[in-house]
Symmetry: C2
Subunit: 350 residues, 2 copies
DNA sequence: ATGAAAGCGCTAACAA
DNA sequence: TTGTTAGCGCTTTCAT
């Protein structure tokens, strides 16, 4: 691999001149510039970013640390972050922790020793944060994404979960639903709690009592959706609608629907957060709280770079990003209401 | 950020000693070792891997460059590669090209200047490979994953596509199907052609003529699955089974099924490659050609590291990995055969 | 407009 | 067992 010295030799200039034509630091005469260019081409030279980093004490490397790339929510976030990173002259790499705190620890340590300028983190760690404090103390910029890490004060880009849930449930109420169940995520997690709060607020607004029996605590996984979905469907007095706090659980709920022969929305309405796209060809399309993932990635990267470049004041900036409610057929009015309440009926019953 | 010099000072030893306790290069007396350890702790010191890399001329960084992390095929590959990379003392990062050759070019260039020791590549480029040749010439180890890049001679880990398709179609034949249609991927791609060949071989083995009208060329995307699925279902003489060459297209086919009220496998059997997991709660589970993704990632990383460490001879090693056929209900016998041919019937018709 | 040279934080060869 | 020092490939200050 050619070095700057070899290029300089071949072009018959000093290494400073080579550096200058590469980085445009000072003006170099056209003649020398051309000679340097030619030498670079001939030698298939690529500047050693490692050496440069050592000298200038920054790598222009950013890392995005994710708990689960399988979740379709993340790829768009990556794209958003990647695009703004590139625009601003940084390289973004991705690493996967598989929701394992051990892996996260390892990865963060590696990133630190590689001296990445900053990291975007959707942490797998609920509480154990020693690996993060050490890293932050050492001066690595950190912005939290999607989830904050309790006990750590950094910039963060989060969804307005309360609002997303509130608007979705509000919509269901407006469609005529009164008995609405919720399958929450883990209430140990901030996102889980916030989404539940949104649900409660929407009910209160409409003077509908919040009944404990309609609140089912899941854990954001398939199984809990299936189990709780089934539980709901077997109740004596069933709700007319279910609000599910993420996509994976919704898959479980749909499985329960299928097993019990429930048609949606005819027998039961459904709405969901989009953590997992349920963009299947099979069912009624689902009313969904959509997170602006691309934007979240882009903003997070923007904040991170601002922070790195010292364009932010001391205070952490916490951005709450607004979800969008996409209304589809899964929340059409419950059958009894549709029958009497609505002015026009789509299809006469046979 | 503390440096090795500061640690040495605080521990009252030479920097060589510090280096030696960190790397275990030579034996250091317990007393000094302890002093160094303490200093490291006190200073929250993390060795500068950048500086080390510059000196030892290797970064121990590996990169995996993927065209589409959305595809559920890839996360497992990443895990496999990550695990073996870690075991062997390397760090693996991931980068996404979004199937855009421009992005791939940019990313590969960046990786090269960061002097990653090697890259695992599932290339987005069909033909344009200048960015790769330059990089390989410069000494960056490259192993192709899932797809080869035509015109480039490197190590590669690929699926035995012919075998996967052959065994799957063979299974359908054995279940009693004779009229089997195939929706292929793009025949410009090696994977597309190989899977078609497997289909043809299976038919020939069974002395079933390969009819042009049953071979529908898709492009690995949802729309082509939908369109061609519909086309097949509207034929005067329908096949009894369809073999679809990847998962995304299968989603399209299922959509067509639903629109036309086709029940699977009752009205039409179906089998697929698993490029997209169709692990939905909705439908009959699909008979699937499963790729050993974890293993592919692991082997690719293994080869890459062997190559980097010079444990391989000159010749590229091309590994063909075997798929597994998972038989599920979607390929149950066609209704006419089931009625007369099978000894035991699952359910009497009503 | 160009060049010489110091030094970024580390490793390893050499010396003691 | 420990220490001294050259040098990895760059950038940048200081001269010219």
């Amino acid at each position: 691999m050619a070095t700057i010295v070899e290029v300089a030799k071949r072009a018959n200039v000093s290494i400073a001149t080579v550096s200058n034509v590469i980085r445009g630091t000072r003006t170099v005469s056209p003649k020398l510039t051309e000679r340097v260019r030619a030498a670079i081409r001939d030698l298939n030279y690529s500047p050693n970013e490692i050496a440069r980093s050592l000298k200038v004490r920054q790598t222009r490397m950013l890392a995005m640390v994710l708990p689960d790339i399988t979740n379709p929510f993340f790829p768009e976030i990556i794209r958003g972050a990647e695009d703004t990173a590139f625009e601003r002259g940084y390289f973004l790499m991705t690493a996967n922790t598989d929701e394992q705190i051990g892996r996260e620890r390892r990865i963060v340590a590696a990133l630190r020793s590689y001296r990445v300028d900053g990291v975007l983190l959707a942490s797998a760690s609920g509480t154990d944060i020693s690996h993060l404090t050490g890293t932050i103390d050492a001066g690595v910029a950190l912005v939290c994404l999607d989830r904050t890490v309790p006990g750590i004060k950094t910039d963060a880009v989060l969804l307005d979960n309360v609002r997303g849930a509130r608007e979705c449930v509000r919509h269901m109420i407006q469609k005529g639903h009164r008995r609405i169940a919720i399958i929450t995520g883990s209430l140990d997690l901030q996102t889980g709690r916030e989404r539940l709060r949104g649900y409660e607020e929407a009910l209160r607004e409409a003077d509908i009592p919040v009944e404990r029996g309609r609140i089912l605590e899941g854990d954001f996984r398939y199984d809990s959706g299936y189990r709780l979905g089934k539980h709901i469907l077997e109740q004596a007095v069933r709700p007319t609608a279910i609000f599910v706090c993420n996509g994976v659980m919704t898959l479980g709920v749909l499985k329960a629907f299928e097993e019990l022969g429930i048609r949606c929305p005819h027998d039961m309405a459904l709405a969901t957060f989009d953590d997992l796209a349920v963009d299947s060809p099979f069912h009624p399309h689902l009313t969904t709280v959509v997170q602006p993932s691309y934007e979240m990635g882009a903003r997070a990267a923007g904040i991170l770079i601002d922070r790195i470049e010292g364009q932010l004041n001391k205070q952490p900036s916490i951005v709450r990003v607004a979800p969008t409610l996409i209304i589809r057929e899964s929340t059409d009015p419950p059958s009894d209401i549709a029958a009497k309440g609505s002015k026009q009926r789509t299809k006469p019953k046979t």
